[in-house]
């Protein structure tokens, strides 16, 4: 059974190779090859899953040693894969949702002449992400991590003819580099501390390392997670990444990429458990991000950017949960999975809307679409209910448990974190209701564009709606399926560990509070966007709104602090280089050159001079030898 693990990665990797190397002759069938191989990987995942289920809980870790990757004395990096409950969960999410997105893209990218290449990149993305979650050591994980970065760069900038897309790809890549550096340093620190980076030995020797060292490693891992998962302060790339084709957004936000950071933290649970200081930082990052993303999501009129803010916020919940330690690990992953369903569904729905609206993304130019796109409306609506935590749907179960866990952290921290999570729930309800109302309800607000062609909203083809339907089913039933009888908890507990914590509030109190927040959020949104017509031109708005429209000034902040600061730094370095370094270098070169010219004159071409020089040399040689004996 173990031997199947490599096939999980090999299938999409083969797809990427075939599609990217195959050239034009595969244009006609390329997208089906890509989809089939993604699905093949999913089927292999299911087979392995069935096998794991057939084993007892402590027998569910499979490893496959492929080859010795970098065998140097004292430095052993193997291409070894580990399949346990945690990576199995990710495998199913990545390949399952990934396959659906592949299928959807067949329709969505139908008119794009570079569709084959697009599917090649999608496959590469899956392969890299699978490598990331299946690696059995941090170095191999790093390899997958970088692969994900590369694939996301290629896909975000897929429409490279649009300058905005090219810039967005570059931005995502650069911001991710900052995080990657964190992972690189963490891996090096790990090697310096433990002499290895294989998961097993590292986790079992955590006790030998000092807390300071563990905190350093954990903080570097957190930096890496912030980059990939778009957490404050490395969140700025996520919104711009919407320039990529919508299926890419769905893939990045639901199944791959942004989940990598959560995976990294949960996988490194042992390290974080040993570094309470770092865990606190993780929870703060999560809480800040969940509010940050939610506020940004309220102000965006671009449907995809509103959803992007929502992703940031939801990942914030997961990071918050992961930072809570054993109380939260399981729920972080559970929310990740349910989020995978409904966020993928929402994005695919948004893509379907755009597909029918001539790629219009401004929600102020939508309105009343429920009549034109019934399937999209229903699936999007179910995803909406799931994300705001409507009772009985997926988000209700998973988010509720995170809020409970946040309170269970105890003490003042618990109250603050729990309060932030509750507040986030209210804002989530507000902005998602806003999206829903502006898009599907009210009067139609679309107008002819400058060419005079009016959009004709229509339902998308079956190849696009089927994935949406499947995801909607997941959004509705996933949470209940996982939560009833604590199925998910028992499945994942052997890997991540679990403890209940002691919440100052009872579970029912928290649920009730969440419900109140939910109602307040929905009602506020209804008051503003449901009762009165939505203006086509956005009103000026309050200071906060305007700031939120500019992503809470994240780019301005980066520009002032990092760009300007960096420019000053480089300018002064360049100045130093020109005056000091070049001065020394040029001076040395000039003096060596002058010396050369003078010594050259000794070579005058006369044999007699040469003989004299030899004689002098011989005399010196003899004298020096004798002198050496004398001293």
């Amino acid at each position: 059974m173990e031997n199947l693990i490599a096939l999980l990665i090999a299938a999409p990797l083969l797809g990427a190779a075939v599609l990217l190397v195959g050239g034009r002759r595969l244009d006609a069938v390329g997208h089906w090859i890509g989809t089939a191989l993604a699905a093949a990987s999913f089927v292999i995942g299911l087979v392995l899953f069935a096998d794991l289920l057939g084993r007892s809980a402590d027998q569910r870790t499979l490893t496959q040693h492929l080859f010795s990757w970098i065998p140097v004395a004292g430095f052993q990096a193997d291409a070894t894969f580990r399949l346990d409950q945690l990576s199995m969960t990710f495998v199913l999410l990545i390949t399952g949702v990934g396959s659906l997105i592949h299928l959807y893209s067949v329709g969505y990218m139908e008119h794009d002449e570079r569709r084959r290449r697009f599917f090649g990149y999608l496959n590469l993305f899956l392969a890299a992400m699978l490598l990331l979650v299946l690696a059995d050591n941090y170095l191999l994980l790093y390899f997958g991590w970088e692969g994900v970065g590369l694939a996301s760069y290629l896909l975000i900038g897929f429409w490279q003819h649009k300058p905005a897309a090219a810039t967005a790809a570059k931005k995502a890549f650069l911001v991710n580099r900052v995080g990657d550096m964190g992972l690189a340093i963490a891996v090096m620190l790990m090697f310096a501390t433990f002499g290895t980076f294989a998961f097993g030995p590292v986790f079992s020797h955590v006790g030998d390392a000092s807390e300071g060292r563990l905190t350093a490693i954990a903080l570097m891992l957190l930096l890496a997670a912030c980059g990939k998962s778009a957490q404050v302060p490395l969140q700025s790339w996520l919104g711009d990444a919407m320039e990529g084709p919508t299926p890419v957004s769905a893939l990045i936000h639901a199944a791959t990429m942004v989940t990598a950071g959560v995976y990294l933290i949960v996988r490194s649970a042992a390290v974080f458990n040993g570094a309470p200081g770092a865990q606190l930082v993780v929870t703060v990052v999560g809480a800040v991000t969940l509010l940050f993303g939610a506020i940004v999501g309220c102000a965006k009129d671009d449907i995809k950017k509103a959803l992007a803010g929502s992703t940031m916020s939801q990942i914030g919940y997961m990071v918050l949960a992961a930072g809570l330690g054993p109380i939260g690990y399981v729920f972080a992953i559970m929310h990740l999975v349910t989020h995978g369903f409904f966020k993928a569904g929402l994005f695919l729905g948004a893509g379907s809307v755009m597909h029918g609206m001539n790629d219009e993304v401004d929600m102020r130019k939508y309105g009343g679409l429920r009549k034109y796109m019934p399937v999209t409306f229903i699936t999007f609506g179910l995803g909406y209910l799931a994300i705001i935590g409507f009772p009985g749907l997926s988000g209700f179960f998973s988010k509720d448990r995170i809020i409970e866990a946040a309170f269970a952290k105890g003490g003042t921290e618990g109250w603050i974190l729990g309060g932030a999570a509750l507040l986030g729930a209210a804002i989530t309800a507000f902005y998602m209701t806003r999206v829903m109302l502006m898009t599907f309800f009210g009067e139609k607000r679309w107008q002819p564009d400058e060419n005079g062609t009016e959009p004709h909203p229509h339902e998308s083809p079956g190849v696009m709606t089927i994935p949406m339907i499947v995801l909607a089913v997941g959004s509705v039933f996933g949470g209940a399926f996982f939560s009833i009888g604590d199925r998910f908890l028992h499945w994942l507990e052997p890997v991540t560990g679990h403890s209940e914590g002691n919440s100052p509030l009872s579970a029912w109190t928290v649920t009730a509070a969440t419900m109140v927040c939910l109602v307040i959020g929905v009602a506020a949104a209804w008051a503003q966007y449901g009762r009165k017509p939505v203006p086509v031109v956005a009103p000026r708005g309050s200071l906060l709104t305007r700031a939120a429209r500019r992503d809470l000034l994240q780019d301005d902040f980066n520009h002032v602090v990092l760009v300007r600061g960096g420019e000053h730094l480089t300018r002064s370095l360049v100045y130093l280089d020109h005056t000091l370094v070049d001065g020394v270098v040029n001076g040395t070169a000039a003096s060596v050159g002058g010396l050369s010219g003078r010594m050259r004159r000794l070579q005058n071409g006369f044999a007699r001079s040469y003989a004299v020089s030899m004689f002098g040399g011989a005399a010196l040689l003899v004298a020096a030898t004798l002198l050496m004996r004398a001293v």
């Binding site: 044999a607 003989a611 040689l621």
Partner: protein, 549 residues
């Protein structure tokens, strides 16, 4: 001299000679040298008896066969374990057959074979009067510019004597690093030098310059030989023997049988130190170390380029081999005396070679100064006085010799109306017109500069590592600084070739015959292979790194 002493001399001579042992000669172990000497003699006979038209072919054939056979003999000896476990002293103590000997002999033979290809090249110069010509004068004896020279050219004469001369020089070089007594060393020195003096004088173009170079080389070489011979005499006076082993024993002070005459001299360290310094000086002259380097640029520039390439590679290998054996076998007991001096020589050699090369404008002179700098680098390995030192020097020599021959072979290709266009300004923009030739030359320059993935890097790394382990860290630091200076002028040539505008009446690149192509190809291949996968050859050199005593 007292009457008794005279009498004893007299009576000793009058004693009946009861028995003289016939010298025992291990022909098998000496076969590489014997093959080459034999082939050289055959070459002389060819000059005497074979018709002029066929001589070239006969000579090339004999030379190639001889060098290949000699190399096969070296390989066979090494395979028999003579390089390691069965290392021994042959020919009544005159010749050592051991690892360093065989490794260096193999290197010299291969270098000579490749050099021979460039000697035999006849397609670069335009045919004169319907006869293909090589790089050598039509008739050595004719005065440059005279009618007899013109007649000789018109008649299509060629100096096919260069092939036996080459073989004689090779024979001397084979003996030089394996010589195990001082007289054999001196004889080998002369056997390798005299043919080289002649070869230097034989350029077809710029004959006056070539003859001037030969005369300078001869005069200064003779001067250096005199020093060597005087040093040998002093060492004999000190130890009462010319045998390496015996001298080493006397230096160490453990003599099996102490006769009164020896007891008298062996305490006299002045004899030993002065003698050793002078013998070493003769060898330093051959390797071109500062301050005995001044012949190098003039001779390298004046000699026919194939001769320069061969000489620069093979002579250096042979002379460093002899120097190693002298310092490691004869004078290890004197280590503390000669090491500081050699330190100084190495430092000055590296710096002078690198610095003076910066202002050179002639490619052959540039390569000459580069060879001086390289002699300094190799000396750094010699000074290590360890097995690693020996093996690193062996490796460096093997790597360096092929780069050198290849580089000079490329120089023969770039020509204008006056023959080879050696002035650097003429090389401007060569990369635009002849990218392949320029790229190959760039590879050689990068190897000289010691850039990774070329043999030069592996060699330099090995030498500096050995030197640093031997405690010579300051030497390594200066070596690295010199490398940096040297990199400047190597890279400058590359920049000149690739990033300058070609001159309108610039030189053309001649299309060589397969001979030169092979020489250059072997050079590139060895450079890249030793650069990318040096380990096998480093191991080989390391196995060969023990001298027999």
């Amino acid at each position: 001299m007292s009457a008794v002493a005279v009498h004893s001399l007299w009576t000793t001579a009058a004693d009946p000679i009861s028995k003289i042992d016939a010298p025992k000669i291990e022909y098998g172990q000496l076969s590489p040298t014997l093959i080459v000497v034999g082939a050289a003699l055959v070459g002389v006979l060819i000059e005497a008896f074979v018709p002029r038209k066929s001589r070239y072919y006969a000579q090339v054939f004999v030379s190639v066969v001889a060098l290949c056979a000699a190399f096969a003999a070296v390989v066979a000896l090494a395979a028999d374990g003579y390089g390691t476990t069965r290392a021994r002293i042959a020919a009544m103590g005159a010749i050592a057959v051991d690892g360093p000997s065989l490794f260096l002999q193999g290197t010299i033979l291969l270098a000579a074979l490749v050099g021979l290809f460039t000697f035999a090249e006849r397609r670069l110069d335009p045919a004169a009067h319907g006869n293909r010509v090589d790089s050598f004068a039509a008739q050595a004896a004719s005065v440059p510019g005279s009618d007899s020279e013109k007649a000789a050219v018109k008649a299509g004469f060629t100096t096919t004597e260069v092939f036996p001369l080459l073989l004689f020089a090779v024979a001397g070089m084979l003996v030089f690093p394996s010589a195990n007594d001082l007289l054999t060393l001196f004889v080998a020195l002369e056997v390798l030098s005299l043919p080289l003096y002649l070869l230097c004088a034989l350029a077809r173009r710029k004959r006056l310059m070539s003859q001037e170079a030969a005369v300078k080389y001869f005069l200064l070489g003779a001067f250096a030989s005199a020093f060597t011979l005087f040093g040998i005499a002093l060492l004999y006076g000190y130890a009462g023997s010319v045998s390496y082993a015996t001298i080493a024993q006397v230096v160490d002070g453990n003599v099996p049988r102490l006769d009164p005459a020896l007891a008298n001299t062996m305490g006299n360290d002045a004899l030993l130190l002065i003698g050793a310094a002078m013998v070493v000086m003769g060898l330093l002259f051959k390797v071109g170390a500062v301050p005995f380097h001044m012949w190098t640029p003039d001779v390298y520039q004046g000699a026919p380029t194939p001769v320069t390439g061969f000489m620069a590679a093979a002579t250096k290998v042979a002379a460093f081999g002899a120097l190693l054996r002298l310092l490691y076998v004869v004078l290890p007991g004197l280590r503390w005396d000669w090491r500081p001096v050699m330190w100084a020589v190495a430092i000055v050699t590296m710096l002078v070679g690198a610095i003076v090369a910066i202002t050179q404008t002639d490619i052959k002179r540039l390569l000459a100064y580069s060879s001086i700098a390289h002699a300094g680098f190799i000396l750094a390995g010699v000074i290590a006085t360890s097995r690693e030192g020996v093996s690193s020097v062996l490796f460096y020599l093997a790597a360096y010799s092929f780069v050198t021959i290849g580089a000079f072979a490329v120089v023969t290709l770039v020509r204008d109306a006056g023959g080879e266009a050696t002035h650097l300004s003429k090389w401007a923009g060569l990369g635009r017109r002849s990218p392949l030739v320029a790229a190959v030359f760039a590879v050689f320059l990068l190897a000289f500069a010691g850039i990774p993935l070329t043999s030069g890097f592996a060699g330099k790394f090995a030498v500096f590592k050995a030197a640093a382990q031997g405690g010579a860290v300051p030497l390594v630091v200066i070596g690295v600084i010199s490398s940096a200076i040297a990199a400047f002028f190597y890279i400058r040539v590359i920049v000149l070739m690739f990033f300058s505008e070609p001159r309108s009446e610039g030189p053309t690149v001649a299309v060589p015959s397969p001979l030169t192509t092979t020489a250059i190809g072997v050079g590139v291949a060895v450079t890249v292979v030793l650069g990318v996968a040096p380990q096998y050859f480093l191991d080989l050199a390391n196995q060969a790194g023990v001298f027999v005593r």
